[in-house]
């Protein structure tokens, strides 16, 4: 048994230590908001937060996250910045098929927490590893700027 802290709760899971976090989340713990896209850390669909940092769960073995806090899209609406990102995604109409958007939102939330007012280049640098086959990149950028402007309003 391996104990993981997932979305603020400890879960004891009957899994091997080499299992990527993605499959532990999806198949065993039942958190299915995190998506499988490539299995090689190339597309970002599986992005989660590990101790607040964005990470690709498809190439992160569960043994590497024991004792760390894993957060997924399933619980993001409890996060104040995450909630704003989700709201901005809706207001901007970002999603098309939506499959990659859990990962996009997790990456964007991590970016905005470390840099509340990113410029276009910083957004591109932070989001370059999150692929979207529907091509929603321009709206993702707009939505991130929208969150940034609201975060600044709050601070002002």
């Amino acid at each position: 048994m391996i104990t993981l802290n997932l979305n603020g709760q400890d879960h004891s899971l009957d899994i091997t230590a080499d299992m990527p976090l993605l499959w532990a989340l999806r198949d065993v713990a039942g958190y299915r908001g995190t998506k499988f896209g490539c299995g090689m850390g190339l597309c970002g669909a599986c992005t989660v937060h590990i101790d607040g940092r964005p990470a690709r769960s498809c190439i992160t073995p569960v043994s590497a996250v024991v004792g760390q806090a894993v957060a997924t899209i399933d619980n993001l609406h409890h996060d104040p910045v995450g909630q704003r990102v989700q709201q901005a995604w809706l207001e901007t109409g970002v999603a098309q098929c939506g499959y990659c958007q859990a990962g996009q939102i997790m990456s964007a939330t991590a970016l905005l927490k470390s840099n509340p007012a990113p410029d276009d280049q910083q957004i591109e640098a932070a989001m370059v590893g999150n692929l979207c086959r529907c091509g929603t990149y321009n709206r993702i950028k707009s939505a991130i700027h929208l969150v940034a402007s609201k975060l600044q309003e709050t601070q002002a």
Binding site: I15, T16, M19, P20, W23, R26, D27, V28, G30, R32, G33, T34, K35, F36, G37, C38, G39, M40, L42, C43, A45, T72, I73, D74, L76, H77, Q86, W89, L90, G93, A95, Q96, C97, G98, Y99, C100, Q101, A102, I105, D120, I123, E124, M127, V128, G129, N130, L131, C132, R133, C134, G135, T136, Y137, N138, R139, I140, K141
Partner: protein, 773 residues
């Protein structure tokens, strides 16, 4: 190609209608069991009526109202990002006079006798279902008004539905939809002719901005259910080792190491199908396990000896030479207007060029995945399918059970782009579930599986030659297209393009040129060729729009002015006069090609882009225009080629005339996305084969556009056409003009003409070299 096939009849039908036509030759006898009318009976039907099982406009099928007033609309089309679940519900809700906040959507299972045609492809969901869904809403509104009139004992003419309630106008009395629902549902559905549809000025949602996306909240919170998110008690997880060469089979295998992997439960062989394999699984060895990771690891431990078969020599470098040689020799003439030879002989000069486009894989972000459960002779599946009815048919045939005993539930699709029109991956899940009687089985494809075993966009060589007059305008036009055909999936010996492929920007060339000859030499398929968003428009548009730009520059003329001159006077062209017997399945009378609309989108895009303005060094503007899926699209891209060969797309102006706009916000999003997908195709996309196998494996080798390649600014300009024109397609027509606009812009920026795709590796190094020379 078999001469017994009636190319017109085949191509005039839908994808499955097309199959039925093949079946009529005996090549695919199973097709006869589909149970709908003969292929030739539908010849005179167009649009939704011409599709298998046609359209249904019965409100009792498509909508229900609960006692609390909530309205549930059934969506019969698959949602894959185009927003159809929202847009069709908007249409019903508008005619129903429903409060949008009280509208929910449920997804129809595969059942075309009940729901009409469900094939979500061809950019036709809204164009075929707008009117039927309006009628559903209007009929239900009328039934609610009648129910209120009966309740009040007043003439129905005094009762008017308005925003979720019926008002008795003389007295001001009101009854909510929830209260009226039961009585209304008991009434007969009014006749189609008696319905009072809204006037456009009365629309509440149709054509309006910023409607709440039905699935938006679920998507941003991770609660939306895609194929892999279906969770059933006791579900098992499977991966499959498939033959990498098309037609390969398992010679022998050893699963002993696999069975030692923790969590692996069972190893099963899936039989391969004889070629051509249509929608059948490729076969191979399946590993069934307690979780996906165990199934992946178990598959890696398999020892398999493959019999590669006849396609093991497929080599993309050799095949390109074969295609290009075929394009330089005469082939089957598919359109001949005027006397080409005479016009070529009389021309003052001529220009010729060849273009090449490689295979592509759709690679939606959600790899293929399906869940199935078989019990007591029934099979139920859950899958991200663009084609639930044919999925149901093929599962019934493969498992040897009745069609009625197969249920196909459609989940959200994490992208489709044509790949999920083919149910091979869903049939796999059904086969394994049958073997594991009673236990649900999920088949998960990895990204490598997706890239190795797609139904690939065709590979194509295009050859063009123009005879030019003293002004540099073409008086003679020869174009050959050579590409393995999608028809090769369905019958042996299919070496020519079908009319539905030729009708995608080839035979329906609309320009005013005196002599035109279009040829389609033979090409043999060595892999599964399938529909890919916008299909054969990709090579045809790339070749034609690149070549016109070349002609303009050769003539020393501005490409926009040259394009406008080439288009000639405004006119409506009957597609049949261009040898296009297909016309996207639409009536040639209702859907002529309107050159004024082509002109309109070109002028709109050019004006918005500031066509003709001075640009910094290394930047250029490129224009392309194209008619596809009965819509008109023009694109101007502003491109910068850096000294290191990297590209920056500074601006994209996309002008779209798709007829009346139902959900403009989703239309813009589709064209924004198509622009990015078009850039993926043009800059990065290439699937190549060696020894019969795809050389790329994952997104590091088969690259798709990431955020930095997207235009820094993209604007979609929706052009509202004059007069009463019908709806056009939206999902696909944004893709074809992107690649030629890009290459035309690169030429404007650098003076270098790129005639083959993808362009990324061709750019590396050469701008710097050019500067030195």
């Amino acid at each position: 190609m078999s001469t017994s096939l009636n190319d017109f009849a085949l191509s005039n039908l839908s994808r499955r209608g097309f199959l039925k036509g093949v079946g009529a030759t005996g090549a695919l006898v199973l097709a006869a069991s589909w149970g709908w009318q003969g292929a030739f009976a539908d010849e005179q039907k167009f649009g939704g009526e011409g599709m298998p099982h046609g359209v249904v406009d019965d409100p009792k099928v498509y909508l229900s109202i609960q006692a609390d007033g909530s309205v549930t609309v059934v969506c019969n089309r698959s949602e894959m990002g185009q927003g159809i679940r929202t847009s069709l519900a908007m249409v019903v809700a508008d005619e129903l006079e429903a409060d949008w906040a009280q509208v929910k959507v449920t997804q129809a299972p595969g059942d075309e006798l009940r729901f009409g045609n469900q094939d979500t492809d061809g950019s036709r969901s809204m164009r075929h279902w707008f009117e039927p869904m309006r009628r559903c809403g209007a009929a239900a509104r009328s039934m609610l008004e009648q129910a209120a009139a009966t309740e009040w004992q007043v003439p129905v003419a005094e009762c008017r539905a308005q925003l979720h309630k019926v008002i008795h106008q003389p007295s001001g009395r009101e009854l909510g939809y929830g209260v009226l629902a039961v009585a209304a549902a008991a009434l007969p559905v009014p006749a189609r002719e008696s319905l009072r549809l809204k006037q456009p000025g009365e629309f509440r949602y149709i054509g309006k901005e910023a409607m709440r996306a039905i699935d938006g909240q679920d998507i941003v919170t991770g609660q939306a259910i895609y194929g892999a998110d279906v969770q059933l008690d006791g579900m098992l997880y499977a991966t499959i080792a498939r033959p990498r060469v098309y037609g390969g089979t398992v010679k022998s295998f050893d699963a002993s190491a696999t069975l030692k992997v923790a969590g692996v439960l069972k190893v099963l062989e899936i039989a391969s199908s004889p070629l051509p394999s249509e929608f059948q699984p490729l076969g191979g060895i399946a590993v069934i396990a307690r979780n996906t990771w165990a199934a992946i690891q178990g598959r890696e431990a398999l020892e398999i000896v493959w019999e590669e078969g006849a396609n093991a020599s497929y080599d993309s470098i050799d095949y390109r030479r074969t295609l290009e040689a075929a394009a330089r020799a005469p082939g089957k003439v598919v359109r001949s207007t005027g006397d080409l030879q005479q016009a070529m002989d009389a021309a003052s000069s001529s220009l010729e060029a060849g273009y090449y486009l490689p295979h592509l894989a759709q690679s939606p972000m959600e790899p293929m995945v399906a869940v199935a459960r078989c019990k007591d002779g029934h099979c139920e599946v859950w899958a991200p399918s663009q084609a639930p009815q044919v999925t149901r048919t093929r599962i019934a045939e493969r498992l040897g059970i009745d069609f009625e005993n197969v249920t196909v539930n459609v989940t959200l699709l994490g992208g489709g782009f044509g790949r999920k029109s083919k149910p091979d991956f869903i049939i796999e899940a059904a086969i394994l579930a049958k073997a594991m009687e009673g236990q649900p089985v999920q088949v998960q494809w990895t990204r490598e599986d997706d890239i190795h075993c797609s139904y690939f966009h065709t590979v194509s060589a295009e050859y063009l030659k123009a005879g030019l007059n003293a002004d540099g305008m073409p008086t003679a036009w020869l174009h050959r297209t050579v590409a393995p055909s999608i028809t090769s999936l369905f019958a042996p010996g299919m070496t020519h393009q079908g009319a539905f492929e030729l009708g995608m920007g080839f035979t329906n060339l609309p320009y005013a040129i005196g002599a035109v000859r279009l040829e389609n030499p033979e090409a043999v398929a060595h892999t599964r060729v399938g529909w890919y968003r916008s299909v054969s428009n990709i090579p045809h548009c790339f070749a034609v729009q690149s070549f016109i730009d070349e002609l303009a520059h050769a003539a020393g003329k501005d490409p926009l002015q040259y394009q406008l001159a080439l288009l000639g006077p405004d006119r409506q062209i009957d597609p049949r006069s261009l040898s296009d017997q297909w016309n996207y399945g639409e009536s040639p009378e209702r859907y002529p090609i309107d050159t004024a609309r082509l002109r309109g989108v070109m002028q709109t895009a050019a004006k918005a882009a500031g066509w003709g303005r001075e640009l910094p060094k290394g930047r250029g503007l490129g224009l392309a225009v194209h008619y596809s899926f009965v819509s008109y699209v023009a694109v101007v891209l502003e491109v910068e080629v850096k000294d290191n060969g990297s590209l920056i797309i500074h601006q994209a102006d996309v002008a779209v005339d798709c007829g009346p706009q139902i959900n403009p916000e989703r239309i813009r999003s589709q064209f924004e996305g198509a622009c990015v997908m078009g850039l993926s195709n043009a800059v990065l996309g290439e699937i190549s084969f060696k020894e019969g196998k795809v050389q790329q494996s994952n997104f590091h080798m088969y690259q798709i556009a990431a955020m930095p390649l997207a235009p820094k600014k993209v604007t979609v300009h929706l052009v509202t056409p004059a007069g009463d024109v019908p709806l056009g397609g939206v999902g696909e027509p944004g893709v074809p003009p992107i690649a030629p606009a890009l290459c035309n812009a690169i030429f404007a920026a650098t003076g270098q003409r790129l005639r083959s795709l993808p362009v990324a590796y061709q750019l590396q190094g050469w701008p710097a070299k050019q500067a030195q020379s």
